[in-house]
């Protein structure tokens, strides 16, 4: 890994808009459903040089997250990828069920399903984004879909851009969505389960999965959730 120097994504002109370097957190303890996020701090620091940078949030859209970025001059795109994946699978199952009545019940392989999903998902021009908030969605995609998603993301991220992802070291006790509270705090929102935890990634698997990114850095919390940053 090469995490020895901060990548310069944009020009120095954006330095005025850059957040200060990550530093000590306020002493106030976080709320129970709030998570102090070193990964988010690093993510913001990495993209801080980019004036009017573009961010892609792959979770549900939240007022607080939108306000956080647009008030700092970023442009935000939102696409709830896990929701879209679930809707896609539901639609495919319905098609299969309908087709089975007619006698044609050829089930698509996971690889074909993933490719088909990506025909409509994450359709943005190359190098569109300086930062991607992937949250923990990779935990919920199968072994065929996850690498394809990473491949697609790698084309969307501007060189020097960063992807922030969370990985559970054991299946999550319940399903959460995430939203940004402030520059170092993420709120976990309990939500109806829309996907089953698919896998637990080991370190080597993570590095292999994101091999197209040039460096990575991770933080493991006491709750055994790993926050990982991958820089293209």
């Amino acid at each position: 890994m090469n995490w020895t120097a901060k990548p310069r994504i944009g020009s120095a002109a954006g330095a005025a808009a850059a957040p200060s370097k990550p530093g000590p957190s306020p002493s106030a303890p976080p709320a129970a459903n709030h998570r102090v996020s070193n990964g988010l701090k690093e993510f913001l620091w990495l993209i801080g040089d980019v004036p009017r940078g573009r961010i892609l949030d792959l979770g549900p859209v939240w007022q607080s997250t939108v306000s956080f970025f647009v008030d700092r001059g970023y442009r935000l795109s939102a696409e709830d990828l896990l929701r879209a994946w679930k809707d896609f699978l539901t639609a495919e199952e319905e098609k299969l069920r309908t087709a089975a009545i007619g006698g044609n019940n050829d089930k698509l392989s996971p690889a074909v399903l993933a490719d088909k999903f990506l025909e409509n998902a994450l359709q943005y021009p190359e190098k569109s984004f300086h930062g991607v908030l992937a949250w923990d969605l990779f935990d919920y995609f199968d072994a065929e879909a996850a690498p394809r998603l990473v491949d697609r993301l790698s084309t969307l991220v501007h060189p020097g851009g960063a992807v922030l992802a969370l990985f559970h070291s054991r299946p999550a006790e319940r399903f959460h969505r995430y939203r940004i509270v402030d520059a170092q705090t993420v709120e976990l929102i309990p939500a109806p389960t829309i996907a089953v935890h698919s896998r637990v990634f080991q370190n080597r698997e993570l590095l292999d999965l994101f091999e197209q990114f040039r460096s990575s850095k991770s933080f493991v919390g006491r709750d055994q959730v790993r926050e990982a940053l991958f820089v293209k």
Partner: protein, 191 residues
């Protein structure tokens, strides 16, 4: 120079919620409060947002549930859509409200845009755009102020622009950059 930032130990209790009543659910029906409690809402977001209640003024045109309109809509009166509209809607001095039963496949340009139904198309608001908890939007959003209730589903680019000057036309200022990253613009179909 890279300087290792001071690391803060993440909270060890991210899953515990001693006060469940204060925990927001993604799709909680209680999320109707537009200005959520518990965190600040910065200036660019929407503090005083038009209500999404059904129109009760005589100066509001209404496309009721069951009606289907295909074509361009323009004018100066407020519009409430609870039916199906396909085309283009341009009401630069008025408010467009898409009700819970409304299904719109059109670009919308208006002073205020309120969505509680389904919209596929880019939205440009001169003053504010608000998305209710039942809203489903695929397209880019350009507005000086944006309000999003918990539960809203929005797929596309979100960008704020400066509010137009009083002496200027109230139509939305164009963004400083012309490129559009909304999935609609790149050919994505509705989910």
């Amino acid at each position: 120079m890279w300087r290792k930032p001071t690391e803060v130990q993440p909270s060890s209790q991210p899953y515990a919620s001693p006060n469940p009543s204060s925990t927001r659910s993604e799709e909680s029906p209680k999320a109707a409060s537009f200005q959520p409690q518990g965190y600040s809402t910065p200036a660019a977001s929407l503090g005083s947002v038009p209500s999404s209640a059904a129109p009760n003024s005589s100066n509001i045109s209404k496309i009721s549930s069951g009606l289907k309109i295909q074509g361009d809509v323009s004018g100066s009166s407020d519009l409430y859509i609870d039916g199906d509209v396909t085309g283009k809607i341009r009401l630069s001095n008025a408010r467009v409200t898409v009700g819970p039963n409304g299904r719109v496949q059109a670009e919308i340009e208006a002073r205020d845009i309120v969505v509680d139904g389904s919209v596929q198309g880019n939205l440009k608001a001169g003053e504010s755009a608000r998305f209710g908890s039942s809203s489903r939007v695929v397209g880019s959003v350009l507005s000086p102020r944006i309000g999003i209730e918990d539960g809203a589903r929005l797929r596309g680019k979100i960008e704020t622009v400066r509010a137009p000057q009083a002496s200027k036309s109230p139509s939305v200022e164009s963004s400083s950059e012309s490129e559009d990253l909304s999935p609609v613009a790149t050919g994505i179909k509705s989910e």
